[in-house]
Protein backbone atom coordinates (compact mmCIF):
# COMPACT_ATOMS: atom_id res chain seq x y z
CA UNK A 1 0.00 0.00 0.00
CA UNK A 2 2.77 2.41 0.94
CA UNK A 3 4.44 1.69 -2.39
CA UNK A 4 1.27 2.43 -4.34
CA UNK A 5 0.91 5.71 -2.48
CA UNK A 6 4.54 6.58 -3.21
CA UNK A 7 4.06 5.87 -6.92
CA UNK A 8 0.86 7.91 -6.99
CA UNK A 9 2.59 10.78 -5.21
CA UNK A 10 5.39 10.74 -7.79
CA UNK A 11 2.93 10.85 -10.70
CA UNK A 12 0.85 13.60 -9.06
CA UNK A 13 3.92 15.72 -8.32
CA UNK A 14 5.21 15.45 -11.87
CA UNK A 15 1.78 16.27 -13.28
CA UNK A 16 1.49 19.31 -11.03
CA UNK A 17 4.97 20.44 -12.10
CA UNK A 18 3.85 20.34 -15.73
CA UNK A 19 0.46 21.97 -15.20
CA UNK A 20 1.50 24.74 -12.81
CA UNK A 21 3.75 27.65 -13.64
CA UNK A 22 3.98 31.42 -13.58
CA UNK A 23 2.84 31.63 -17.22
CA UNK A 24 -0.85 31.08 -17.78
CA UNK A 25 -0.97 28.52 -20.55
CA UNK A 26 -4.54 27.37 -21.34
CA UNK A 27 -4.88 23.60 -20.94
CA UNK A 28 -5.81 23.17 -24.59
CA UNK A 29 -2.65 24.90 -25.81
CA UNK A 30 -0.33 23.22 -23.30
CA UNK A 31 0.58 20.25 -25.48
CA UNK A 32 1.69 22.47 -28.33
CA UNK A 33 3.51 24.99 -26.16
CA UNK A 34 7.31 25.27 -26.03
CA UNK A 35 6.80 26.37 -22.41
CA UNK A 36 5.80 22.77 -21.65
CA UNK A 37 8.35 20.94 -23.80
CA UNK A 38 11.38 23.21 -23.42
CA UNK A 39 10.88 24.60 -19.92
CA UNK A 40 8.49 22.76 -17.59
CA UNK A 41 9.11 19.16 -18.66
CA UNK A 42 12.94 19.18 -18.61
CA UNK A 43 12.84 21.17 -15.39
CA UNK A 44 10.47 18.75 -13.65
CA UNK A 45 12.44 15.72 -14.86
CA UNK A 46 15.73 17.29 -13.80
CA UNK A 47 14.41 18.24 -10.35
CA UNK A 48 13.08 14.69 -9.89
CA UNK A 49 16.35 13.05 -10.97
CA UNK A 50 18.51 15.38 -8.83
CA UNK A 51 16.25 14.81 -5.82
CA UNK A 52 16.46 11.07 -6.37
CA UNK A 53 20.25 11.15 -6.75
CA UNK A 54 20.65 13.19 -3.55
CA UNK A 55 18.28 10.91 -1.63
CA UNK A 56 20.14 7.75 -2.67
CA UNK A 57 23.50 9.40 -2.06
CA UNK A 58 22.36 10.34 1.44
CA UNK A 59 21.27 6.77 2.21
CA UNK A 60 24.62 5.44 1.01
CA UNK A 61 26.71 7.92 2.96
CA UNK A 62 24.75 7.62 6.19
CA UNK A 63 25.14 3.85 6.01
CA UNK A 64 28.83 4.17 5.22
CA UNK A 65 29.81 6.51 8.06
CA UNK A 66 27.07 5.08 10.31
CA UNK A 67 26.20 8.61 11.34
CA UNK A 68 22.65 9.95 10.90
CA UNK A 69 23.97 13.50 10.49
CA UNK A 70 25.90 12.70 7.33
CA UNK A 71 24.79 14.74 4.35
CA UNK A 72 26.20 14.41 0.84
CA UNK A 73 27.40 17.99 1.15
CA UNK A 74 29.05 17.48 4.52
CA UNK A 75 31.89 15.58 2.90
CA UNK A 76 33.53 18.63 1.34
CA UNK A 77 31.72 18.34 -1.99
CA UNK A 78 29.90 21.66 -1.82
CA UNK A 79 33.11 23.49 -0.91
CA UNK A 80 34.93 21.87 -3.82
CA UNK A 81 32.07 22.59 -6.23
CA UNK A 82 31.97 26.23 -5.10
CA UNK A 83 35.68 26.62 -5.63
CA UNK A 84 35.41 25.10 -9.11
CA UNK A 85 32.57 27.42 -10.10
CA UNK A 86 34.31 30.53 -8.79
CA UNK A 87 37.56 29.62 -10.55
CA UNK A 88 35.64 29.18 -13.81
CA UNK A 89 34.15 32.65 -13.47
CA UNK A 90 37.36 34.31 -12.27
CA UNK A 91 39.27 32.89 -15.24
CA UNK A 92 36.43 33.86 -17.61
CA UNK A 93 36.23 30.32 -18.98
CA UNK A 94 33.95 30.56 -22.01
CA UNK A 95 30.87 28.54 -22.90
CA UNK A 96 27.70 27.62 -21.06
CA UNK A 97 29.27 24.39 -19.82
CA UNK A 98 32.34 25.90 -18.20
CA UNK A 99 30.64 26.59 -14.87
CA UNK A 100 28.83 23.26 -14.28
CA UNK A 101 31.86 21.35 -15.54
CA UNK A 102 34.22 23.26 -13.25
CA UNK A 103 31.85 22.68 -10.33
CA UNK A 104 31.85 18.96 -11.11
CA UNK A 105 35.66 18.90 -11.32
CA UNK A 106 35.89 20.81 -8.03
CA UNK A 107 33.51 18.39 -6.29
CA UNK A 108 35.39 15.36 -7.62
CA UNK A 109 38.70 16.97 -6.58
CA UNK A 110 37.40 17.49 -3.04
CA UNK A 111 36.10 13.91 -3.05
CA UNK A 112 39.52 12.57 -4.06
CA UNK A 113 41.23 14.59 -1.35
CA UNK A 114 38.81 13.44 1.36
CA UNK A 115 39.14 9.87 0.10
CA UNK A 116 42.93 10.10 0.37
CA UNK A 117 42.59 11.51 3.89
CA UNK A 118 40.22 8.66 4.75
CA UNK A 119 42.95 6.18 3.89
CA UNK A 120 45.49 7.82 6.23
CA UNK A 121 45.14 5.13 8.88
CA UNK A 122 45.97 2.33 6.43
CA UNK A 123 44.34 0.59 3.52
CA UNK A 124 40.84 0.82 4.99
CA UNK A 125 38.61 3.91 4.86
CA UNK A 126 38.06 5.27 8.33
CA UNK A 127 34.53 6.65 8.64
CA UNK A 128 35.44 9.15 11.35
CA UNK A 129 38.32 10.51 9.30
CA UNK A 130 36.05 10.74 6.25
CA UNK A 131 33.69 13.01 8.17
CA UNK A 132 36.44 15.14 9.73
CA UNK A 133 38.37 15.25 6.46
CA UNK A 134 35.20 16.29 4.62
CA UNK A 135 34.57 19.17 6.98
CA UNK A 136 38.24 20.24 6.81
CA UNK A 137 38.49 20.04 3.01
CA UNK A 138 35.19 21.88 2.70
CA UNK A 139 36.39 24.68 4.97
CA UNK A 140 39.69 24.90 3.12
CA UNK A 141 37.98 25.13 -0.27
CA UNK A 142 35.56 27.72 1.09
CA UNK A 143 38.50 29.80 2.35
CA UNK A 144 40.15 29.80 -1.09
CA UNK A 145 36.77 30.64 -2.66
CA UNK A 146 36.26 33.59 -0.33
CA UNK A 147 39.80 34.82 -1.02
CA UNK A 148 39.14 34.70 -4.77
CA UNK A 149 35.81 36.47 -4.36
CA UNK A 150 37.28 39.27 -2.30
CA UNK A 151 40.13 39.79 -4.76
CA UNK A 152 38.26 39.56 -8.06
CA UNK A 153 35.44 41.50 -9.68
CA UNK A 154 32.55 41.37 -7.29
CA UNK A 155 29.33 41.37 -9.28
CA UNK A 156 30.11 38.35 -11.44
CA UNK A 157 31.19 36.32 -8.46
CA UNK A 158 28.17 37.26 -6.43
CA UNK A 159 26.20 35.77 -9.28
CA UNK A 160 28.32 32.62 -9.08
CA UNK A 161 27.12 32.25 -5.51
CA UNK A 162 23.53 32.60 -6.65
CA UNK A 163 24.12 29.70 -8.99
CA UNK A 164 25.76 27.66 -6.26
CA UNK A 165 22.87 28.11 -3.86
CA UNK A 166 21.09 25.81 -6.20
CA UNK A 167 18.12 25.81 -8.48
CA UNK A 168 16.75 24.53 -11.74
CA UNK A 169 16.68 27.76 -13.75
CA UNK A 170 19.21 26.31 -16.15
CA UNK A 171 17.21 23.12 -16.76
CA UNK A 172 17.07 21.92 -20.36
CA UNK A 173 17.18 18.55 -22.12
CA UNK A 174 20.97 18.90 -22.18
CA UNK A 175 21.22 19.07 -18.39
CA UNK A 176 18.81 16.13 -18.13
CA UNK A 177 21.14 14.23 -20.44
CA UNK A 178 24.14 15.10 -18.26
CA UNK A 179 22.59 13.59 -15.15
CA UNK A 180 21.36 10.61 -17.16
CA UNK A 181 24.95 9.98 -18.22
CA UNK A 182 26.47 10.29 -14.76
CA UNK A 183 23.83 8.83 -12.46
CA UNK A 184 23.09 5.24 -13.64
CA UNK A 185 26.48 3.68 -12.89
CA UNK A 186 26.72 4.84 -9.25
CA UNK A 187 23.01 4.01 -8.78
CA UNK A 188 23.60 0.44 -9.95
CA UNK A 189 26.71 0.09 -7.79
CA UNK A 190 24.80 1.30 -4.72
CA UNK A 191 21.82 -0.96 -5.43
CA UNK A 192 24.18 -3.93 -5.70
CA UNK A 193 25.68 -2.99 -2.33
CA UNK A 194 22.30 -3.07 -0.56
CA UNK A 195 22.83 -6.44 1.19
CA UNK A 196 26.42 -5.78 2.41
CA UNK A 197 25.30 -2.33 3.64
CA UNK A 198 22.66 -4.06 5.78
CA UNK A 199 25.47 -6.11 7.28
CA UNK A 200 27.63 -3.02 7.79
CA UNK A 201 24.89 -1.58 9.99
CA UNK A 202 25.79 -4.32 12.51
CA UNK A 203 29.33 -2.95 12.74
CA UNK A 204 32.43 -3.38 10.63
CA UNK A 205 33.76 -6.52 12.33
CA UNK A 206 30.44 -8.43 12.36
CA UNK A 207 29.93 -7.47 8.70
CA UNK A 208 33.36 -8.85 7.91
CA UNK A 209 32.58 -12.14 9.69
CA UNK A 210 29.28 -12.39 7.82
CA UNK A 211 31.12 -12.31 4.53
CA UNK A 212 31.06 -8.66 3.42
CA UNK A 213 34.22 -7.26 1.86
CA UNK A 214 34.05 -4.22 4.10
CA UNK A 215 37.10 -2.45 2.75
CA UNK A 216 35.98 -2.63 -0.86
CA UNK A 217 32.37 -1.91 0.08
CA UNK A 218 33.28 1.34 1.80
CA UNK A 219 35.37 2.49 -1.14
CA UNK A 220 32.66 1.72 -3.69
CA UNK A 221 29.88 3.31 -1.66
CA UNK A 222 31.90 6.44 -0.95
CA UNK A 223 32.90 6.93 -4.59
CA UNK A 224 29.40 6.20 -5.94
CA UNK A 225 27.59 8.47 -3.48
CA UNK A 226 30.07 11.26 -4.13
CA UNK A 227 29.79 10.93 -7.90
CA UNK A 228 26.00 11.14 -7.65
CA UNK A 229 26.28 14.29 -5.57
CA UNK A 230 28.86 15.82 -7.88
CA UNK A 231 26.59 15.17 -10.88
CA UNK A 232 23.72 16.82 -9.00
CA UNK A 233 25.91 19.86 -8.24
CA UNK A 234 26.94 20.16 -11.87
CA UNK A 235 23.35 20.52 -13.08
CA UNK A 236 21.64 22.19 -10.13
CA UNK A 237 24.18 23.67 -7.71
CA UNK A 238 24.16 22.86 -4.01
CA UNK A 239 20.70 21.92 -2.73
CA UNK A 240 20.75 21.09 0.94
CA UNK A 241 18.44 19.06 3.19
CA UNK A 242 17.28 16.53 0.60
CA UNK A 243 20.23 14.22 1.16
CA UNK A 244 19.98 14.61 4.92
CA UNK A 245 16.24 14.28 5.43
CA UNK A 246 15.12 11.81 2.77
CA UNK A 247 17.07 8.83 4.20
CA UNK A 248 15.54 9.44 7.63
CA UNK A 249 12.03 9.73 6.25
CA UNK A 250 12.48 6.48 4.32
CA UNK A 251 13.96 4.60 7.27
CA UNK A 252 11.02 5.71 9.43
CA UNK A 253 8.45 4.66 6.84
CA UNK A 254 10.03 1.60 5.24
CA UNK A 255 12.54 0.24 7.73
CA UNK A 256 16.28 -0.16 7.54
CA UNK A 257 16.83 -2.67 4.74
CA UNK A 258 18.74 -1.10 1.88
CA UNK A 259 17.06 -2.99 -0.93
CA UNK A 260 13.88 -1.02 -0.12
CA UNK A 261 15.66 2.11 1.13
CA UNK A 262 17.41 2.85 -2.17
CA UNK A 263 14.34 2.84 -4.46
CA UNK A 264 12.11 4.59 -1.93
CA UNK A 265 14.78 7.21 -1.24
CA UNK A 266 15.08 7.82 -4.97
CA UNK A 267 11.33 8.35 -5.34
CA UNK A 268 10.94 10.34 -2.11
CA UNK A 269 13.88 12.61 -2.99
CA UNK A 270 12.48 13.10 -6.47
CA UNK A 271 9.01 13.92 -5.17
CA UNK A 272 10.35 16.32 -2.53
CA UNK A 273 12.55 18.24 -4.94
CA UNK A 274 10.08 18.33 -7.84
CA UNK A 275 7.36 19.58 -5.47
CA UNK A 276 9.73 22.12 -3.90
CA UNK A 277 10.70 23.43 -7.33
CA UNK A 278 7.06 23.75 -8.40
CA UNK A 279 6.38 25.79 -5.27
CA UNK A 280 9.56 27.86 -5.84
CA UNK A 281 8.32 28.75 -9.32
CA UNK A 282 4.73 29.54 -8.40
CA UNK A 283 4.13 30.78 -4.85
CA UNK A 284 5.77 34.20 -5.25
CA UNK A 285 5.23 34.50 -9.04
CA UNK A 286 6.31 36.45 -11.02
CA UNK A 287 9.33 36.17 -8.77
CA UNK A 288 11.03 32.90 -7.97
CA UNK A 289 12.43 31.51 -4.72
CA UNK A 290 15.74 29.67 -4.49
CA UNK A 291 14.67 26.01 -4.32
CA UNK A 292 16.97 25.28 -1.34
CA UNK A 293 14.82 27.57 0.80
CA UNK A 294 11.70 25.64 -0.13
CA UNK A 295 13.28 22.23 0.54
CA UNK A 296 14.25 23.45 4.00
CA UNK A 297 10.82 24.98 4.68
CA UNK A 298 9.08 21.78 3.55
CA UNK A 299 11.59 19.26 4.79
CA UNK A 300 12.27 20.41 8.32
CA UNK A 301 8.65 20.43 9.62
CA UNK A 302 8.04 17.07 7.92
CA UNK A 303 11.18 15.76 9.54
CA UNK A 304 10.17 17.10 12.96
CA UNK A 305 6.73 15.49 12.61
CA UNK A 306 8.19 12.10 11.72
CA UNK A 307 10.76 12.28 14.49
CA UNK A 308 8.03 12.96 17.00
CA UNK A 309 5.93 10.05 15.75
CA UNK A 310 8.98 7.84 15.83
CA UNK A 311 10.01 8.72 19.40
CA UNK A 312 6.42 8.40 20.68
CA UNK A 313 5.86 4.91 19.25
Amino acid sequence: MKYVLLGAAAVTTLAAALLLGPANVPLGDLLGSPILWQLRLPRAVLAFLVGGALGVSGVGLQALVRNPLADPFLLGLSGGAGLGAVVAIALHLPGPWALPLAAFVGAVGAMALVYRLGLIGGAELDARILLLGGVAVGAFAAAITTALVSLAEATELRNAFLWLWGGFSGASWTTVLVILVYAPLPLVVLAAAARPLDLLALGEEPAQYLGADVRRLKQLVYLSASLLTAAAVAVAGVIGFVGLIVPHVCRLLWGRLHHTLFPTAFLTGGILLAAADTLARTVVAPRELPVGIVTALLGVPLFAFLLRRWTVS
Binding site: G21, P22, A23, N24, P34, I35, Q38, L39, R40, P42, P94, G95, P96, L99, A154, N159, L162, W163, G167, S169, G170, A171, S172, W173, T174, R281, A285, P286, R287, E288, L289, P290
Partner: protein
Protein backbone atom coordinates in the same frame (compact mmCIF):
# COMPACT_ATOMS: atom_id res chain seq x y z
CA UNK B 1 53.53 61.72 12.46
CA UNK B 2 50.59 61.96 10.10
CA UNK B 3 48.28 60.52 12.69
CA UNK B 4 49.52 63.06 15.20
CA UNK B 5 48.75 65.85 12.73
CA UNK B 6 45.28 64.43 12.24
CA UNK B 7 44.70 64.15 15.95
CA UNK B 8 45.60 67.79 16.46
CA UNK B 9 43.30 68.71 13.58
CA UNK B 10 40.54 66.76 15.24
CA UNK B 11 41.29 68.43 18.58
CA UNK B 12 41.26 71.83 16.91
CA UNK B 13 37.96 71.07 15.24
CA UNK B 14 36.40 69.90 18.49
CA UNK B 15 37.67 73.03 20.23
CA UNK B 16 36.23 75.20 17.48
CA UNK B 17 32.82 73.55 17.68
CA UNK B 18 32.83 73.82 21.46
CA UNK B 19 33.62 77.51 21.39
CA UNK B 20 30.95 77.99 18.76
CA UNK B 21 28.42 76.28 20.98
CA UNK B 22 29.67 78.09 24.06
CA UNK B 23 28.99 81.39 22.37
CA UNK B 24 25.43 80.21 21.86
CA UNK B 25 25.73 79.96 18.09
CA UNK B 26 24.01 77.13 16.30
CA UNK B 27 25.66 74.98 13.73
CA UNK B 28 26.01 76.02 10.89
CA UNK B 29 28.31 78.61 12.34
CA UNK B 30 29.15 81.67 10.33
CA UNK B 31 31.01 80.95 7.11
CA UNK B 32 30.58 77.20 7.63
CA UNK B 33 28.71 74.63 5.59
CA UNK B 34 26.24 72.13 6.97
CA UNK B 35 24.32 69.42 5.19
CA UNK B 36 22.39 66.42 6.46
CA UNK B 37 23.38 63.18 4.77
CA UNK B 38 21.21 60.14 4.03
CA UNK B 39 22.34 58.41 7.21
CA UNK B 40 20.78 61.35 9.10
CA UNK B 41 24.17 62.70 10.16
CA UNK B 42 24.84 66.40 10.20
CA UNK B 43 28.02 67.08 8.26
CA UNK B 44 29.69 70.43 8.88
CA UNK B 45 32.70 71.97 7.19
CA UNK B 46 34.35 75.26 8.11
CA UNK B 47 35.17 75.89 4.46
CA UNK B 48 34.46 74.16 1.14
CA UNK B 49 36.27 70.83 0.87
CA UNK B 50 39.61 71.09 -0.95
CA UNK B 51 40.74 67.48 -0.97
CA UNK B 52 37.92 65.07 -1.76
CA UNK B 53 37.98 61.29 -2.08
CA UNK B 54 35.02 60.03 -4.10
CA UNK B 55 34.09 56.39 -3.50
CA UNK B 56 31.37 56.03 -6.17
CA UNK B 57 31.65 56.58 -9.96
CA UNK B 58 28.43 58.63 -9.88
CA UNK B 59 29.89 61.03 -7.29
CA UNK B 60 33.05 61.41 -9.39
CA UNK B 61 30.96 62.27 -12.46
CA UNK B 62 28.94 64.80 -10.48
CA UNK B 63 32.09 66.41 -9.03
CA UNK B 64 33.61 66.86 -12.48
CA UNK B 65 30.29 68.00 -13.95
CA UNK B 66 29.92 70.85 -11.44
CA UNK B 67 33.52 72.00 -11.91
CA UNK B 68 34.94 70.51 -8.71
CA UNK B 69 37.06 67.93 -10.54
CA UNK B 70 40.28 69.64 -9.47
CA UNK B 71 39.35 68.97 -5.83
CA UNK B 72 39.21 65.20 -6.31
CA UNK B 73 42.34 63.58 -4.83
CA UNK B 74 41.13 59.98 -4.75
CA UNK B 75 38.69 57.76 -6.65
CA UNK B 76 37.78 54.09 -7.03
CA UNK B 77 39.02 51.83 -9.83
CA UNK B 78 35.48 52.01 -11.28
CA UNK B 79 35.56 55.82 -11.66
CA UNK B 80 36.40 55.98 -15.38
CA UNK B 81 34.38 59.01 -16.47
CA UNK B 82 35.14 61.72 -17.43
CA UNK B 83 38.55 60.73 -18.87
CA UNK B 84 40.25 63.37 -16.68
CA UNK B 85 39.16 61.33 -13.66
CA UNK B 86 41.61 58.62 -14.66
CA UNK B 87 44.48 60.99 -13.78
CA UNK B 88 43.32 60.98 -10.13
CA UNK B 89 45.04 58.34 -7.97
CA UNK B 90 42.85 55.31 -7.26
CA UNK B 91 42.27 54.10 -3.70
CA UNK B 92 41.08 50.63 -4.78
CA UNK B 93 37.72 49.21 -5.71
CA UNK B 94 35.95 50.63 -2.68
CA UNK B 95 34.13 47.38 -1.88
CA UNK B 96 34.66 47.82 1.00
CA UNK B 97 36.85 50.93 1.01
CA UNK B 98 40.39 50.59 2.28
CA UNK B 99 40.34 53.11 5.12
CA UNK B 100 44.14 53.37 5.11
CA UNK B 101 44.35 54.00 1.37
CA UNK B 102 41.66 56.68 1.66
CA UNK B 103 43.33 58.34 4.67
CA UNK B 104 46.69 58.32 2.87
CA UNK B 105 45.26 60.78 0.33
CA UNK B 106 44.84 63.22 3.27
CA UNK B 107 41.28 64.17 2.29
CA UNK B 108 39.17 66.72 4.12
CA UNK B 109 35.99 65.09 2.80
CA UNK B 110 35.13 61.55 1.73
CA UNK B 111 31.96 60.86 -0.28
CA UNK B 112 30.51 57.40 0.28
CA UNK B 113 27.49 55.58 -1.06
CA UNK B 114 25.33 54.58 1.92
CA UNK B 115 25.72 50.83 2.41
CA UNK B 116 26.52 48.67 5.43
CA UNK B 117 30.28 48.36 4.90
CA UNK B 118 30.52 52.03 3.92
CA UNK B 119 28.81 53.17 7.12
CA UNK B 120 31.48 51.27 9.07
CA UNK B 121 34.23 52.77 6.91
CA UNK B 122 32.78 56.26 7.46
CA UNK B 123 32.88 55.75 11.25
CA UNK B 124 36.50 54.66 11.03
CA UNK B 125 37.41 57.68 8.89
CA UNK B 126 35.63 60.02 11.30
CA UNK B 127 37.74 58.58 14.12
CA UNK B 128 40.79 59.63 12.10
CA UNK B 129 39.39 63.14 11.95
CA UNK B 130 38.26 62.91 8.32
CA UNK B 131 34.79 64.23 7.49
CA UNK B 132 32.54 61.84 5.62
CA UNK B 133 29.16 62.07 3.95
CA UNK B 134 26.93 59.06 3.20
CA UNK B 135 24.61 59.52 0.22
CA UNK B 136 21.93 57.29 -1.34
CA UNK B 137 22.19 57.08 -5.11
CA UNK B 138 20.17 54.27 -6.64
CA UNK B 139 17.48 56.07 -8.57
CA UNK B 140 17.03 59.00 -10.92
CA UNK B 141 15.16 61.01 -8.25
CA UNK B 142 18.15 60.81 -5.93
CA UNK B 143 20.54 62.51 -8.37
CA UNK B 144 19.23 66.04 -7.73
CA UNK B 145 19.48 65.95 -3.92
CA UNK B 146 22.91 64.27 -4.18
CA UNK B 147 24.22 66.94 -6.58
CA UNK B 148 22.90 69.79 -4.37
CA UNK B 149 24.68 68.48 -1.30
CA UNK B 150 27.91 67.78 -3.14
CA UNK B 151 27.73 71.32 -4.54
CA UNK B 152 27.23 72.82 -1.08
CA UNK B 153 30.15 70.88 0.42
CA UNK B 154 32.52 71.88 -2.38
CA UNK B 155 31.46 75.51 -2.77
CA UNK B 156 30.07 74.91 -6.25
CA UNK B 157 26.46 75.41 -5.31
CA UNK B 158 25.48 77.39 -8.37
CA UNK B 159 26.63 74.81 -10.91
CA UNK B 160 25.33 71.97 -8.73
CA UNK B 161 21.92 73.56 -8.33
CA UNK B 162 21.50 73.97 -12.05
CA UNK B 163 22.56 70.35 -12.61
CA UNK B 164 20.15 69.27 -9.85
CA UNK B 165 17.41 71.30 -11.49
CA UNK B 166 17.90 69.43 -14.77
CA UNK B 167 17.94 66.09 -12.93
CA UNK B 168 14.82 66.91 -10.92
CA UNK B 169 12.87 67.93 -14.00
CA UNK B 170 14.00 64.76 -15.77
CA UNK B 171 12.89 62.70 -12.78
CA UNK B 172 9.47 64.33 -12.69
CA UNK B 173 8.72 63.79 -16.38
CA UNK B 174 5.95 61.36 -17.23
CA UNK B 175 6.90 58.22 -19.20
CA UNK B 176 7.43 58.93 -22.89
CA UNK B 177 4.86 57.45 -25.26
CA UNK B 178 5.95 54.26 -26.99
CA UNK B 179 4.75 50.78 -27.78
CA UNK B 180 7.95 48.81 -27.40
CA UNK B 181 8.77 46.72 -24.36
CA UNK B 182 11.99 45.33 -22.97
CA UNK B 183 13.45 43.25 -20.20
CA UNK B 184 16.74 44.02 -18.48
CA UNK B 185 18.51 40.71 -17.86
CA UNK B 186 21.30 41.09 -15.31
CA UNK B 187 22.17 37.40 -15.00
CA UNK B 188 20.99 34.26 -16.71
CA UNK B 189 21.27 31.39 -14.19
CA UNK B 190 19.28 32.02 -12.10
CA UNK B 191 17.62 34.71 -14.24
CA UNK B 192 17.79 38.09 -12.49
CA UNK B 193 15.87 41.01 -13.98
CA UNK B 194 15.52 44.70 -13.18
CA UNK B 195 12.24 45.78 -11.58
CA UNK B 196 10.67 49.13 -10.78
CA UNK B 197 12.39 51.24 -8.14
CA UNK B 198 15.55 51.17 -10.23
CA UNK B 199 17.41 53.71 -12.32
CA UNK B 200 17.19 51.58 -15.46
CA UNK B 201 13.42 51.13 -15.17
CA UNK B 202 13.02 54.93 -15.18
CA UNK B 203 15.45 55.37 -18.07
CA UNK B 204 13.46 52.89 -20.14
CA UNK B 205 10.18 54.63 -19.34
CA UNK B 206 11.61 58.03 -20.30
CA UNK B 207 12.98 56.56 -23.54
CA UNK B 208 9.51 55.28 -24.42
CA UNK B 209 9.99 51.59 -23.66
CA UNK B 210 8.02 49.64 -21.10
CA UNK B 211 9.96 47.42 -18.70
CA UNK B 212 7.93 44.19 -18.65
CA UNK B 213 8.91 43.71 -14.99
CA UNK B 214 7.74 47.16 -13.91
CA UNK B 215 5.29 45.42 -11.52
CA UNK B 216 8.17 44.13 -9.37
CA UNK B 217 8.76 46.72 -6.70
CA UNK B 218 12.34 45.72 -5.91
CA UNK B 219 15.26 47.01 -8.01
CA UNK B 220 16.09 43.47 -9.11
CA UNK B 221 14.59 40.02 -8.64
CA UNK B 222 14.98 36.38 -9.57
CA UNK B 223 12.32 35.19 -12.02
CA UNK B 224 11.91 32.13 -14.20
CA UNK B 225 12.52 31.95 -17.94
CA UNK B 226 8.88 30.96 -18.25
CA UNK B 227 7.74 34.31 -16.86
CA UNK B 228 10.03 36.21 -19.24
CA UNK B 229 8.65 34.17 -22.15
CA UNK B 230 5.06 34.80 -21.06
CA UNK B 231 5.62 38.56 -20.79
CA UNK B 232 7.12 38.47 -24.25
CA UNK B 233 9.30 41.62 -24.34
CA UNK B 234 10.33 43.08 -27.74
CA UNK B 235 13.94 43.47 -26.61
CA UNK B 236 16.42 42.02 -24.18
CA UNK B 237 18.56 44.83 -22.76
CA UNK B 238 21.98 43.97 -21.32
CA UNK B 239 24.68 46.03 -19.68
CA UNK B 240 27.56 45.01 -21.89
CA UNK B 241 30.42 46.85 -23.52
CA UNK B 242 30.68 44.32 -26.34
CA UNK B 243 28.02 43.55 -28.92
CA UNK B 244 28.47 39.79 -28.64
CA UNK B 245 25.26 37.89 -27.92
CA UNK B 246 25.39 36.41 -24.41
CA UNK B 247 26.29 32.74 -23.98
CA UNK B 248 22.73 31.75 -23.16
CA UNK B 249 21.34 33.12 -26.45
CA UNK B 250 21.78 29.78 -28.18
CA UNK B 251 20.55 27.56 -25.34
CA UNK B 252 17.23 25.84 -26.02
CA UNK B 253 15.57 26.83 -22.74
CA UNK B 254 16.25 30.52 -23.45
CA UNK B 255 15.13 30.31 -27.06
CA UNK B 256 11.56 29.97 -25.76
CA UNK B 257 11.77 33.75 -25.22
CA UNK B 258 10.87 35.42 -28.55
CA UNK B 259 13.33 38.32 -28.22
CA UNK B 260 16.18 35.89 -27.52
CA UNK B 261 15.19 33.68 -30.46
CA UNK B 262 15.07 36.72 -32.76
CA UNK B 263 18.35 37.99 -31.25
CA UNK B 264 16.82 41.35 -30.39
CA UNK B 265 19.48 42.40 -27.90
CA UNK B 266 20.20 45.97 -26.82
CA UNK B 267 23.80 46.17 -25.62
CA UNK B 268 24.05 49.14 -23.28
CA UNK B 269 27.47 50.39 -22.19
CA UNK B 270 28.01 49.98 -18.47
CA UNK B 271 29.76 53.35 -18.21
CA UNK B 272 26.71 55.25 -19.47
CA UNK B 273 23.81 53.05 -18.28
CA UNK B 274 25.20 51.16 -15.32
CA UNK B 275 25.15 54.05 -12.86
CA UNK B 276 22.92 57.02 -12.12
CA UNK B 277 24.80 60.15 -13.18
CA UNK B 278 24.72 63.58 -14.77
CA UNK B 279 24.58 61.96 -18.20
CA UNK B 280 21.11 60.50 -17.58
CA UNK B 281 19.58 62.60 -20.36
CA UNK B 282 22.27 61.38 -22.76
CA UNK B 283 21.54 57.78 -21.75
CA UNK B 284 17.83 58.27 -22.40
CA UNK B 285 18.52 59.78 -25.86
CA UNK B 286 20.87 56.91 -26.65
CA UNK B 287 18.31 54.28 -25.62
CA UNK B 288 15.58 56.02 -27.63
CA UNK B 289 17.85 56.12 -30.68
CA UNK B 290 18.63 52.41 -30.32
CA UNK B 291 14.95 51.51 -29.95
CA UNK B 292 14.06 53.58 -33.04
CA UNK B 293 16.93 52.14 -35.06
CA UNK B 294 15.80 48.57 -34.54
CA UNK B 295 12.58 47.62 -36.31
Amino acid sequence: MRRWVQRTHLAGFVALTLTACARGEHVPFRGGIAVTDDAGRRVTLAAPARRIVSLLPSFTEILFAIGAGDRVVGRTTWCDYPPEALAVPSVGDGMPPSVEAVAARRPDLVLLYRSGPNVTAAEQLERLGIRTVLVDLNRLEELGPAARRIGALTGHSRAADSLAHVMDSLASQPPAPGTQSLVFIVWDNPPIVIGAGSYLDRLAALAGARNVFHDLSSPSAQVSIETIAARDPDFVALLSDSALPPGYASRPEWRVVRAVRARRFLFLSGQLFGRPGPRAAQAIRELRRRLAGTP
